[in-house]
Symmetry: C2
Subunit: 334 residues, 2 copies
């Protein structure tokens, strides 16, 4: 069983690739819900939806979110009625939110609703929201406290962030199946999602990080940072805000307590080599009893470079296969 | 101030006509909500929506309900997701239901939500739901107890009805403005709606029928029955179920305790004359101390005939003007 941790857009591409290199039934996808929002009275789970649509081959390729070939007539009408319209829900997409919201109002949990939607959409892979409890990613910014979607969509992440917190995370429990699937995993994959606001909320839920630390399965992450910048979105700026370098070293830092392998882009080969060399000197320094500590956030992590930019279906498949090869190699090593 | 009682489709046409013969600001429309339903988790008020769309010139002419030029992509998707799809909500129409539902969940009453929607849609005329309390028209049928929409839309009213009841009506209060507008009306109009299931629920709310009986304003109804049959829908069958004739006499019977004038179609001129003649013989019989009572459901009602089939905008306007002329004539007479 392969367990994947992911946010929306970027991570979904790797999930799509994985679905083609292993049987979908062998995939469990644990998805961020810190971005969930109540919109027009509906419960919208943007990252869960991207994963569901991605697995069902419904995801819009141009937009990277929502349903392929969707229209936005209801949205246009909402705008005419003077309702909020900065968050776009398509007419086809609406069916998902209506269905989910009705399920939740009928007393189902988010993971039950997600499982039913996955079944209806025939994803075959298992999709788990990180928690059935409400966790809200909130950002302290120059324009006050914003929810993630206010920051990301409404403000197009063009506002300085001073702090991030995951409201409700401390009281939240992992959704049923999350801890269990980590414990039974043959490999654990972190998709190239934003470590701060896509993976951060998942890791903030008590018990998940511990389960990852305990896990004997190889943990492989794909860096969302290429050449010192995020492939898309505000990952680099948010990582700097966290005090991490906005480089592959920062990604390794975010996951340092459980990560075995970091897959980086070929563009970062030089930096990867330098990290591994300094890890080596660090180990030597330790062995020699010297106190000089180089800035090596995660000395135990092995780095592998490949193409991580997923422009085509082949790219997704190739990267997914590479990630699983890394996991196999790590297992063999252990 | 002209007060109109109406259901959806048929009645809305007269409302549209009235809007063109008086200033919309002089119109108060009291609308049946016994057909309201919770659909896909949204509060849908079909008759209120028909009136709002009719007044806003958004009503689909072909369908007689919903928004002109609407699409049904969300509905198609709901069907694919295995959700109920026998009640059609268009993509543009959805915006109304989403907005209303969000207002209701935020604690607004149905009449507040309706007033806000009317304002957003610039109807100019005042639209009042009959009550802010939930009243549900339920039908006992050969296929068990059905809600009105289950009977009307899902079963296409092709099922025998044994009884109609208005669940919640006894505890319901008229919406704010309903009694007051009846009391201040210069004329009260009953649109050619189904007397049993469109007007029936309104009259079942304690206080409304009494206010109509007390009113000094002329009360003019337009018959939804033409040539012994309903212009559309199941009015005739439901009237027979109620023990009323499914003729203009039955319509007069439904409103007998407050009706002054019944406007009937030219096709019913002969029957109108016969009703008035027998009313005359009944009065004569009474005067002569005889006990023979003819079947005259509403001896005090005056009948006027005109074209009541509203196929064009001109038809609507002409009938509306005729109705108001009848009201004026009645006022002059009193």
């Amino acid at each position: 069983m392969i367990v994947v941790f992911t946010g929306g857009t970027g991570g979904t591409k790797l999930v799509q690739g994985l679905r083609h290199v292993v049987r979908p039934e062998e995939l469990t996808v644990i998805v961020n819900t810190g971005d969930d929002l109540e919109w027009w009275g509906l419960h919208v789970s943007p990252d869960v939806d991207s994963v569901l649509y991605g697995l069902a081959d419904l995801l819009s390729k141009e937009r990277g979110w929502g349903v392929d070939g969707d229209s936005f007539r209801c949205l246009e009408r909402m705008k005419e009625l003077g309702e909020a319209s900065w968050f776009s829900l398509g007419d086809l997409d609406l069916a998902t939110h209506l269905t989910r919201t009705a399920m939740l109002r009928a007393g189902k949990t988010l993971s039950e609703a997600t499982a039913e939607l996955a079944e209806k959409l025939r994803t075959r892979a298992r999709v788990l929201p990180m928690s059935d409890d409400r966790v809200s990613t909130m950002l302290e910014t120059a324009r006050g406290t914003l929810s993630f979607q206010e920051y990301f969509v409404r403000e197009r992440h063009q506002v300085e962030v001073q702090a991030v917190r995951f409201e409700g995370a401390e009281q939240a429990r992992p959704a049923p199946g999350v801890i269990d699937s980590i414990e039974r995993a043959s490999a654990i994959v972190f998709a190239p999602s934003n470590p701060v606001t896509s993976i951060g909320p998942i890791l903030a839920i008590p018990g998940i990080r511990d389960a990852l630390r305990r896990s004997a399965a190889p943990v492989v992450a794909v860096s969302p940072i290429v050449g010192g910048a995020a492939v898309s979105g505000p990952a680099a700026a948010l990582m700097r805000m966290m005090g991490w370098p906005s480089t592959i070293a920062g990604v390794a830092k975010a996951y340092e307590d459980f990560l075995d392998v970091l897959v980086v882009d070929e563009a970062d080969t030089a930096e990867a080599i330098s990290i591994q060399q300094s890890a080596f000197s660090q180990q030597r320094a330790k062995a020699g009893g010297q106190s000089t500590i180089h800035h090596v956030p995660s000395a135990g992590v092995r780095l592998f470079a490949t193409n991580t930019i997923m422009s085509s279906a082949d790219d997704k498949r190739d990267l997914a296969a590479f990630v699983l090869d890394c996991a196999t190699a790590q297992t063999a090593r252990a």
